[in-house]
Amino acid sequence: MNMSRFVKTCRCMLLLIILCMTTGCWDRREMDDLALIMGSGIDLTDSGLIEVSYQIALPTGIPSAVKSGGSQKQVVVISAKGNDLQEALGRIQQQMSRYVYFGHREVFLIGENYARQGLNQVQDLFTRFPETRYNSYVLTAYGATAKEILSTPYPMELIPALAISKIQSSRQSFSVKFDEFLEAFASPGTSPVTAAIRIIHKGTDKESVAIDRAAVYLGNKLSGFTQPAELELLRWWIGDPYRLSFTIQAEPEDKDYKGTISVKSSESSVHVHTRIVDDHPEAKVIFHTVVKVVSNNTRLNLDNEKNRKNIEQQFSRQLQGRFEELLTHVQKGMKSDIFGMGEEIHIEHPYSWKKIRGSWAEIFPAMPVQVEVEFQIEQLGKTHGRAYLEK
């Protein structure tokens, strides 16, 4: 009897001890002990120091849904410099009253200067660090430092970093997530690429940000930026080809008509075929798209089969030309295989790839790549012809 009571007491004690320990109180973090990092950036200063910047959300400054328009600041940007990344991070912690929490980090920015110097430290720090979220976006600052971008206000959102993240996740933007970026770094057959962000209306009170370029890396160094006009092509080739829009000059401009036709794609795809000819790789890339016409500023009536075929051919030809320009720019100019051609060869010709993978960086810029665009008009919008009087 006594014995069983003793056993019972022991069991209860045991349960209590277990209960006390499962709370994990060593790692408890109260909300007001956390600095919620929404975006972070890294720069190289002119004097050769590394500068780390955080954009931190201030929960007290964010007005609730009922009270609109808070006068308090919603975010604060904190930065510190150091000889290397760890030193800068240490200095930043010295000015923080709160524990730095990365769980909500939406964007990571790389300053242009830092990117040109090489990224190894960043990669290592961010892969080892347990709080790294692979779903956050990586962007390279174009013509600015990461700190400047983080400090730029964004009129439509309370937290500028969230604005960047929303632009990136909208599917109409070229975006690269952290894991895709790291994967490209680790892959011998693909070079890394990120979206590039810049400040628009600089120096005015309408200052804001725009993402209209891509930053092309070679090895771990920034090699250059693509042109804004090339971004749509890049989305088609390596991004999310969702509602691509293109405009061409279909007829010469006259006094009544601009002569342009614009389309939006409803489905697009890319097929890459590689061949090995005498140990030398060659590739043929076929772009396929089905579009609807969104505006027609020409004298052509698209109800007419012949006109439609004509426009389709013009689009194919002009887009092919633009792709060839992009290729020349990236492949010959920046020498960077952001298209993952090496990976395609790896998959299609694994045994040849073993022979060339060591010298891929030299082989790729000289590789012949043939581009073909298959273009098909599917819909003409809501109206047949034009809704105004013909002149």
């Binding site: 045991l14 277990i18 060593w26 790692d27 347990p130 790896h346 299609e348 694994p350």
Partner: protein, 374 residues
């Protein structure tokens, strides 16, 4: 008392032991060895695991109602038999502290970086000691009957939730990069973890219907193999093989990739449920085997008394490894794969089977023969 388990419980015990541990601990070595062909390694590992399951269930069938500690001396003679038992005890005594340590390492790396590891380990030791003391194998069986389906559902949930991240191109090219040798090398670590059915030799004697046990065991191993295979393919397809061989826990990293409908994000808690449940079942089973086996081996009447001695020893042992590499990599690569798998899981069961069949010979051949066509 408390020492009868059903076939279904055996199924869930083996499934939960195999699943969580293999998924979390052994995929990295296969990915390192075979890269995108790691799934071929898993198929090879599954075959090895199935062989182990067939062997041990065949052994258990020769000696119905007896466990390893009963029949090892019968088969090998008193002294050799004792040696064999000691070999198995070494396996059980070392796996517990190592799993405890892996558990605390993982909790430290992924979840609670500040919590001292002693407390994480102590918590688990207390839990398994309590489960073993209060429930015995029957309690553990019921626990796994409850936890097993949860583990299974969670794994499948993670796989489904990742379906929008799958890029099957990552699997290509098949075979060209690795070759037979690498694929086989990559299969060893998962095979050794999928081979936990070897413990069936111990708990077969607790089955209320010993004849049914074999089918349940083999099904458990088969299903575990299948799910590990599926998970490996998805890990490769989601993470690619450039980064994943460097990750300690690719399965966890994969769950971080989940992002559905714009509001289901950061699923990190799910694999923790899988992992902790699996660790608990595994530790509890081994803890019971150690306590029961040691008591039986040393001819101590009450095996429950052993719990009081073994629990503190396990706690202290778990603190011995100096770092995460010693606990996770070295034990796996230097003991579990080269010694425990060939000797404890394949060699000795095979010897037991051959010699046991011969020794039983004329007397019970009819009974054994009668069982084999079920």
């Amino acid at each position: 008392m408390n020492l009868k388990i059903s076939g279904m419980q055996v199924f869930w015990i083996i499934l939960s032991m195999n699943l969580g541990m293999t998924l979390v601990m052994t995929l990295t070595p296969s990915l390192q060895a075979a890269k995108q062909d790691a799934w071929l390694s898993i198929i090879a590992a599954g075959c090895i695991a199935l062989l182990i399951a067939l062997l041990v269930t065949a052994v258990a069938r020769i000696f119905p109602g007896q466990n390893l500690i009963d029949y090892a001396p019968l088969v090998f003679g008193t002294w050799l038999g004792k040696l064999v038992i000691v070999i198995y005890l070494v396996q059980w005594y070392t796996i517990i502290p190592i799993v405890l340590r892996q558990f605390s390492d993982l909790v430290n790396i992924m979840l609670l970086p500040e919590t001292p590891k002693q407390f994480v380990i102590l918590l688990m030791v207390l839990l398994i000691a309590y489960a073993t003391y209060a429930g015995g194998i029957e309690g553990i069986g019921r626990c796994s009957e409850f936890l097993g389906p949860i583990i299974l559902i969670m794994v499948i949930l993670v796989l489904f939730a990742n379906s929008n991240n799958i890029n099957l191109k990552h699997i290509l090219p098949v075979y060209a990069d690795s070759g037979l040798k690498d694929i086989f090398r990559g299969s060893l670590a998962p095979a050794s973890y999928l081979g936990h059915s070897v413990e069936y030799m111990m708990f077969a004697s607790f089955l209320s219907k010993p004849r049914k046990g074999r089918a349940y065991t083999i099904w458990a191993v088969l299903i575990a193999n299948l799910i590990v295979l599926l998970t490996t393919i998805i890990i490769i397809a989601v993470l690619g093989v450039n980064l994943s061989p460097n990750m300690w826990y690719p399965f966890f990293e994969m769950t971080q990739k989940i992002s559905l409908f714009g509001f289901i994000d950061n699923f990190d808690a799910v694999p923790v449920v899988i992992w902790v449940s699996s660790v608990f079942v595994k530790l509890a089973v081994y803890f019971f085997l150690v306590s029961y086996g040691t008591a039986q081996f040393l001819k101590i009447k009450s095996w429950r008394i052993m719990i009081g001695f073994i629990a503190p020893v396990m706690f202290v042992f778990a603190l011995i490894p100096q770092n995460v590499i010693e606990a996770t990599t070295n034990y796996l690569q230097r003991y579990w794969v080269p010694i425990a798998m060939p000797v404890n899981m394949l060699g000795l069961p095979l010897l037991l089977l051959v010699i046991g069949t011969l020794k039983k010979g004329t007397g019970t051949a009819a009974a054994a023969g009668g069982n084999s066509d079920q």
